[in-house]
Symmetry: none
Subunit: 363 residues, 2 copies
């Protein structure tokens, strides 16, 4: 099968993604490249004598045989660079992987935004992440992240809960579940989104894999949103890749007294767009000009899921802030119902309390 040669060529020591692509362009297929005469091989830019020797020596064959066996036994498949399914956005990065290990489904063209941040996020970071991932998903934008603890996990879950698509890019083999508590999330994402990895099966989640992995996260996305990144965090590397790849960089601000917001605030200082609602992202995505909407529609698009009664109260407050007594009289609900509803709306971030028992929508 064709995959055997793709895996084989990539396993030849010294053949990186750029050289792989040159060989593919020169010989049309990895199979032809691997059976080419040494002189023909050497004529390709980047092919060293050591590569020519390794192709002839053939250790790649044993590796490829084993990897194909493991692949068949797994629930993953290979998505080749030449497949119609291969995400077009990765063609724009300098060194797209020749193939991706894939569970679930990626789309050749898809509006996607990466949401990345701290593994040790605060309650605030998780809340902001969940809210924005929910908003992206409700607007049909796929949420890309790295499956790590903290912000990454909250981003994937937020998108799933909103019924949207989400793509996890792994820094280990696609057959590894890391962190282990995310097993259920992995399976849900394979079902309703995708998991991808460029690392061979069985690869452990080593620290050195992550910076490389981050370029795929940004590469798959039209923009990268950073939530709660401390100084020196890996999310800042993803943001850096995003800039190099010509992607938009967005960041959620946070209190300057919070160490885990230092990096994201610095990104904003350096020119990243400050995001405090999902519209800030959508308005910069091609094809996402803001549709006219009712107030409740806006609340929904801002990422709040409201019950019909809550939506009615929200509509009321969207016109003008009101005293709680006026809300009660205008909705004909009981004081208890209104109180509890306002608390829910407040917790959802849809409504803010003003002094003296007045309430307003959270603009």
């Amino acid at each position: 099968m064709e995959e055997f040669y793709w895996i084989g060529l990539k396993a030849v020591p010294g053949v990186g993604n750029v050289t792989f692509r040159r060989l593919l362009e020169h010989f049309d297929s990895p199979r032809s490249a691997l059976s080419a005469a040494p002189a023909a091989l050497s004529s390709v830019r980047g092919v060293t004598p050591a590569i020519v020797a390794a192709v002839r020596e053939g250790a790649w064959q044993r590796f490829a045989e084993e990897e194909c066996r493991r692949l068949q036994a797994s629930s993953a498949r290979l998505l080749l660079f030449t497949s119609a399914e291969y995400p077009k956005s990765l063609f724009q990065i300098p060194d797209p992987p020749p193939f991706l290990y894939l569970r679930g489904e990626v789309r050749s063209r898809e509006t996607a935004v990466a949401v990345v941040g701290s593994r040790r996020s605060t309650a605030y970071g998780l809340l902001a992440t969940g809210r924005l991932a929910d908003g992206l998903a409700r607007n049909g934008v796929a949420v890309v992240s790295g499956m790590a603890r903290g912000v990454d996990t909250a981003a994937h879950k937020g998108a799933l809960v909103a019924g949207g698509r989400t793509i996890g890019v792994l820094g280990c083999g696609i057959d590894k579940v890391y962190p282990p508590e995310n097993r259920k999330l992995f399976d849900e994402m394979a079902e309703r989104g995708a998991l991808v990895s460029e690392f061979p099966l069985g690869t452990l989640p080593l620290a050195e894999n992550f910076p490389r992995r981050n370029r795929i996260i940004s590469g798959l996305s039209q923009g990268v949103l950073v939530v709660e990144a401390a100084e020196n965090s890996g999310s800042l590397i993803t943001a850096q890749y995003a800039l190099e790849q010509g992607r938009d960089v967005f960041a959620v601000p946070g209190n300057i007294t919070c160490a885990s917001c230092t990096g994201s605030n610095r990104l904003i200082k350096q020119g990243a767009k400050l995001v405090d609602c999902v519209e800030d992202i959508l308005e910069d995505l091609p094809g996402f000009a803001r549709p006219a909407a009712t107030a409740a529609g806006e609340a929904k698009s801002a990422g709040f899921a409201l019950t019909p009664k809550e939506a009615a109260v929200y509509e009321l407050l969207a016109r003008t802030p009101l005293h709680i007594d006026d809300i009660i009289s205008q909705t004909e609900l009981t004081a208890g119902e209104v109180s509890s509803m306002l608390l829910h709306l407040e917790l959802k971030g849809a409504v803010v309390p003003l002094p003296g028992k007045h309430y307003a929508v959270n603009a």
Copy 2:
């Protein structure tokens, strides 16, 4: 006394700050203006027949007599537009007050920054305000604000505690203490800073006075820092004046789940500079250029803790971006050492990778 005529001319109905200034320029003194012939008065742009009539009618005399009596009984004095002490920065605004009621001391030329924000600030807002006001004061920058509850009060107090100067601009007569709990602060500021007002003695702190007052806050300052401003807050008006007056606008970011940070975050979205430490402000003030330092010293001050070897590589890259091979040859470290060091520097945020294995310092 001269002040009598200044107070009198300003009390003539229809004479605003701009007409006052034209009359002053034409007649050299308010006294001459008030005794000028009607035809001479009328020849000045902006002088209407109603103004000419009011000058002759003389109600301004009775007001000026009373105001002079009140002034002598108070602890304030008048600072005239023509005084050498009058702050030069107010000459740059379209309608500087002809005189200010003053307690304490203002300086003709002084580096000053306004720190303004919510009256209903959170603990976070007060903490951030105090920290930044302290930093400004310690660097010899006067802190200007509006004496209101919340952020304003925290700004004045922060500057005083740090031993610095602070100037309060009132929206009421300078003989009024508002809010009343600030009496001690008023007296301390008159002692170690200044209180100023353009309103006659006895003027109550009416809502309509505050937007006007805000243009003096920004006018006295080289930049305006907004901390915790909600939507539609008065601080946003001050920021707007600052923009119109060509002042820098700075804002402290806050959690997007906090309603009282909505306005300040929006300012940043609109182009205000995000501030998370006092250096962010100082570096934009004339005469506060960042002191010359070694590149490694800068890395340190930017918050990177570098080992001696890393500092050497950083110094090298601070001169010019380099290919990894050139870093290896110029440092005489091994390829492995340099690789791992660059990754560390990258994770610390000190260095950024460029395409083609080049590296640069993170400017």
